[in-house]
């Protein structure tokens, strides 16, 4: 960490490889769009390059990174609200259309309907296979909070799926 702060590119590369996937999924939880989430994650590391030297508490690198990433994602959302013109062509749109099964679509929509605070925990835990401890460290919250949020999120997802007539499991 300290080495990266002093401008060591290899150390920075290690940080990048360690946190990149987490940032992509974190941004996805806000943007609900994988391509834009990758854009946001990459832009996050650009911001990190610019400001890493100013980071005082290196033990808070994870939450600091997550805050930058959320900010980048929010900026993309704001940009999205501008009058929409052709941005990346029809291919981009076609790629976003969900080709999964109907059940998967329902589950994904139930996750999309969650509050962002809960959605990010679900996405990091299930999509990025992170443990409670890892999520807590990355977001700067306690493991207990992660557990609580995930519990509530699962309950909400279950409720939404039931309402949609989703077949009971097993």
């Amino acid at each position: 960490m300290e080495a990266a702060q002093r401008g060591d590119v290899e150390s920075f590369a290690a940080l990048y490889r360690r946190y990149y996937a987490t940032m992509v999924w974190l941004a996805y939880s806000i943007l609900l769009n994988r391509d834009q989430a990758q854009d946001a994650a990459q832009q996050t590391f650009v911001k990190v390059c610019e400001n890493l030297a100013d980071l005082k508490r290196t033990d808070r690198f994870g939450p600091w990174l997550a805050a930058i990433c959320r900010n980048e994602a929010q900026q993309l959302i704001r940009a999205r609200r501008q009058p929409v013109g052709p941005r990346r062509g029809e291919d981009f749109y076609a790629e976003q259309i969900d080709h999964g099964s109907n059940d998967h679509r329902l589950v994904r929509r139930a996750i999309d309907d969650l509050e962002p605070m809960y959605r990010e925990i679900v996405v990091l835990h299930y999509y990025n296979d992170m443990e409670y401890r890892q999520i807590a460290a990355a977001l700067g919250i306690t493991e207990h909070t992660v557990r609580g949020r995930l519990f509530r999120a699962r309950r909400q997802i279950e409720k939404t799926l039931r309402k949609k007539g989703f077949p009971e499991g097993l």
């Binding site: 590369a13 990149y20 390059c49 900010n71 929409v84 976003q96 605070m117 499991g169």
Partner: protein, 809 residues
């Protein structure tokens, strides 16, 4: 511990729904694309070892030295010395506020010239007039001056004690929107009366009026024939329909400003459960709501909003159903799961059989309950009717305001957008868990006068957040007190005095803020945008007053009669709401540029006016043609023509309920205007969106309900993201389909959507095709034709709005 099979199954399906694989972290590709960033990393990093940041050094030294007793003493001494230096520095920097207050910058750079701003000129003029005892001059100043001067003039008039100034002061006192105790005009009137010995005579006339509020009875009273009392007869029954004897029934009125007044004393019901009461309506405005409240031991407080409009005088079928009392209990926690004590939990209730009225947001003590959480964060709301649906809001300083209905669509007038199961809580639940989010964002606001210097007079801050679907809400500052004026408390506002405010507990997002004159409601500063970012939770805004032009609106009927009491909105960005006076006049102060002025109520087809205020800020006068007042009477029937109990609403209007004969009355519509409305039965199985011209005078509109199916869905943009523009108006049109294709557009209605989702009742019996159009983004989408069956719900899924469809509607 073994997990249940269901939990494992849920885990599994969530994992299976993962949208694609986790992306690979290709650092080399990223480095190639962002070589500049890498160079910056190297350059910034190279400076670190040479000079440790000063604060980090202090912090490290403090940590090290704090391990020993001597070190602790040294740190304490350093902190005290630092605080002393800081205080001395601030004291030197902030001179005590004087009139006019000046900023430190003003003092440092240049002495203030002897140029008074317009407000100070007005104050000086008022002083002169008071010294000369010129009552007429002061009265004319009352109409033209700014609010700070107006308050001073009112005080001067009170001290002069001339009775001729009372009518003018009364008119202003009636417009006062703040707390009655602070009403400066009422104080002046009281002082004049005291000096003229009229105290006792007047007070006997006003026994019904709340203290400090001047009622219209003090103005020239209309003849008794003009104002008829409201007579209500009806029955009080329990849930099974059995009459209840000895229940107490009384009438209450609620103004637009949420002021409650008991119109009658309680009357008991007879052994058949019937009651009859007569409520005086001379203090009831046409815009007020009248409620019947009912109390009986063993039952929860009951209430009914009778289908009255301020003009109907005889109601014969008021049926009040009383329910057994139950309670609602739960816990309020923070994000760590700890109970939050001292949080205010407020509930608004509506009968479960009439869910549409949740949207109406009725205000009366009869359907509100409140409680505070105890030390463990638990709360109990008592005396809740057993069949109610509740919407909850929770406020606590330091936390974000919670509202169970937040984020869902607002009702606009033609289609309900409400899912009682999701948005409300059923009475009797005792396991409610509400998690309060921490107060994330803060906005520090300072209001600056046009000439410079902080604005230290009374001011109202107006704030809303389109990106969060919040607001508007208002915060009023007046001589040291800072109070929220709107019930929707989205953030907690405090004032540091002299035009400085702090708003806490705001979510991340974009905010629009402006300062307004508390008396007239006109904006004194243009709109300012503030963004709270996740990386910067504290934001600041300086609102600088700007000069305005006086724009007078004259509301006239086609025959030239002035229209008083007409609701007008004007402005660009924030709209200011005002009503015309008895002469049909209304004065707005508008900034340079284009502003829209629109009338509401009588003429629902009014397109409004666009006023261009020129840079010279010349006064303008606008003529606003208004239709004649009209009382729309109608009847709600089903397919067979039988009367239906239900509710009816017109576009831009509120809901009215029908009586047992299905009859309803909606006031103030122009007979030549086009009607657009929505009606539904109490069970929500039949509905109708209707449009057309109203019946001729004396006629009755028959609304024949149709059996409906429910269409739901979500509006998505072409990138498959939900459209979260807030508020974005979408129109949904339904086309009949025959063998040749789409014949004609049958129905059309608009809903507000905050999160892209919509819900619409659509008549059945023919194939239909739904279209959706978002005017703000100029996008359009269509669904496949459906032949709906009655009582069914059809989820249209994600309706993609894209330019391609828009070009070929």
């Amino acid at each position: 511990m073994a997990r249940s099979k269901r939990a494992d199954w849920l885990d599994q399906i969530i994992r299976e729904a993962k949208p694609g694989q986790t992306p690979r972290a290709d650092f080399d590709a990223w480095r190639d694309a962002h070589a500049v960033a890498i160079r910056q990393l190297r350059q910034r990093g190279a400076t670190i070892p040479q000079s440790e940041p000063f604060l980090a050094l202090i912090s490290r030294l403090a940590r090290n030295s704090a391990r020993s007793r001597t070190g602790k003493l040294a740190v304490a001494a350093a902190v005290v010395a630092g605080a002393f230096i800081l205080l001395t520095w601030r004291a030197g920097r902030q001179s005590p506020p004087a009139v006019p207050p000046t900023t430190a910058t003003d003092q440092a750079t240049s002495p203030r010239p002897e140029v008074l701003d317009p407000e100070q000129e007005e104050l000086r003029l008022a002083d002169d007039l008071f010294t000369r005892g010129d009552v007429q001059g002061l009265l004319s100043l009352l109409h033209s001056a700014r609010s700070r001067t107006v308050f001073a003039v009112a005080a001067y008039l009170g001290r002069i004690g001339d009775a001729s100034s009372v009518p003018t002061l009364q008119a202003l006192a009636a417009q006062w929107q703040g707390s009655p105790q602070d009403n400066p005009f009422q104080k002046a009137i009281d002082q004049i009366r005291h000096e003229n010995g009229q105290d006792e005579a007047e007070s006997t006339q006003n026994t019904q009026a709340p203290a400090g509020v001047l009622q219209t009875t003090q103005e020239p009273e209309p003849s008794p024939s003009e104002i008829s009392p409201l007579t209500c007869r009806g029955v009080v029954v329990d849930r099974s329909g059995s009459p209840i004897r000895d229940a107490e029934v009384w009438a209450q009125s609620c103004t637009e400003n949420l002021k409650l007044t008991d119109l009658t004393t309680p009357v008991p019901t007879d052994p058949q459960g019937t009651f009859s009461l007569t409520a005086p309506t001379d203090n009831v405005d046409a815009t007020d709501r009248v409620y019947l409240l009912c109390r009986h031991g063993g039952h929860a407080l009951g209430w009914l909003r009778p289908p009255t409009d301020g003009q109907t005088t005889d109601l014969n079928d008021c049926r009040i159903v009383l329910y057994r009392p139950t309670f609602v209990a739960g816990i309020v926690t923070d994000t760590r799961g700890r109970g939050v004590s001292g949080a205010l939990v407020e509930a608004r209730m509506t009968p479960a059989h009439e869910p549409a009225s949740v949207q109406e947001y009725p205000c009366t003590a009869g359907n509100e309950r409140a409680a505070q959480t105890d030390a463990t964060g638990r709360f109990i709301l008592k005396d809740v009717p057993e069949n109610s649906l509740l919407s909850l809001s929770v406020s606590r300083r330091g936390y974000r305001h919670y509202d169970s209905r937040e984020g869902y669509g607002q009702f606009m007038g033609t289609s309900p957008y409400l899912d009682p199961e999701s948005h409300t809580i059923r009475a009797g639940r005792r396991d409610i868990e509400i998690e309060l989010l921490p107060a994330e964002g803060q906005i520090n606001v300072q209001v600056v006068r046009e000439q410079g210097g902080l604005h230290d007079g009374p001011v109202v801050l107006r704030c809303e957040s389109p990106s969060n679907g919040l607001g508007p809400w208002f915060c009023r500052y007046d001589r040291g007190d800072c109070t929220l004026m709107e019930p929707a408390q989205r953030g907690i506002c405090t004032s540091q005095g002299h035009g400085r405010f702090r708003i806490d507990g705001l979510p991340v997002g974009q905010y629009l803020i402006a300062a307004a004159d508390p008396l007239s409601g006109d904006l004194i500063t243009p709109l300012t945008e503030v963004v709270i970012r996740p990386s910067q939770l504290h934001a600041g805004a300086t609102l600088r007053a700007a000069r305005t032009a006086r724009v007078t609106v004259r509301a006239r009927t086609p025959t030239g009669e002035p229209v008083g009491g007409l609701l007008l909105t004007a402005g660009s960005g924030f709209m200011v709401r005002k009503r015309t006076d008895a002469d049909g006049l209304c004065l707005f102060r508008l900034f340079e540029g284009d502003s829209a002025i629109q009338s509401h109520g009588w003429d629902c087809d009014s397109a409004g006016h666009v006023v261009r205020v020129t840079p010279d800020l010349a006064d303008r006068q606008i003529d606003m043609p208004v239709g004649m007042p009209f009382l729309l009477r109608g009847r709600l029937v089903d397919e067979s023509g039988s009367p239906v109990r239900g509710s009816v609403s017109l576009l831009l209007g509120g809901w009215v309920s029908t009586d047992a004969d299905g009859r309803f009355v909606i006031p103030h519509r122009a007979p030549d205007a086009r009607l657009q409305g929505y009606a539904r039965d109490a069970e929500g199985k039949r509905a109708l969106v209707f449009a057309g011209t109203p019946p001729s005078a004396g006629g009755e509109l028959e609304v024949r309900l149709e059996r409906v199916a429910v269409f739901t869905g979500r509006a998505m943009d072409q990138h498959a993201n939900p459209i979260v523009e807030a508020p974005a108006a979408f129109s949904l049109d339904v086309q009949e389909v025959d063998s040749t294709g789409y014949r004609y557009s049958q129905l059309r209605c608009e809903v507000f959507i905050f999160d892209g989702r919509f819900r619409l009742d659509v008549p059945v019996g023919r194939p239909l095709r739904m279209g959706i159009y978002c005017p703000t983004l100029q996008l359009r989408g269509r669904a496949e034709p459906i032949d709906p069956a009655p009582g069914q719900t059809y989820d249209l899924g994600d309706m993609v709005l894209d330019p391609a469809s828009s070009q070929n509607p």
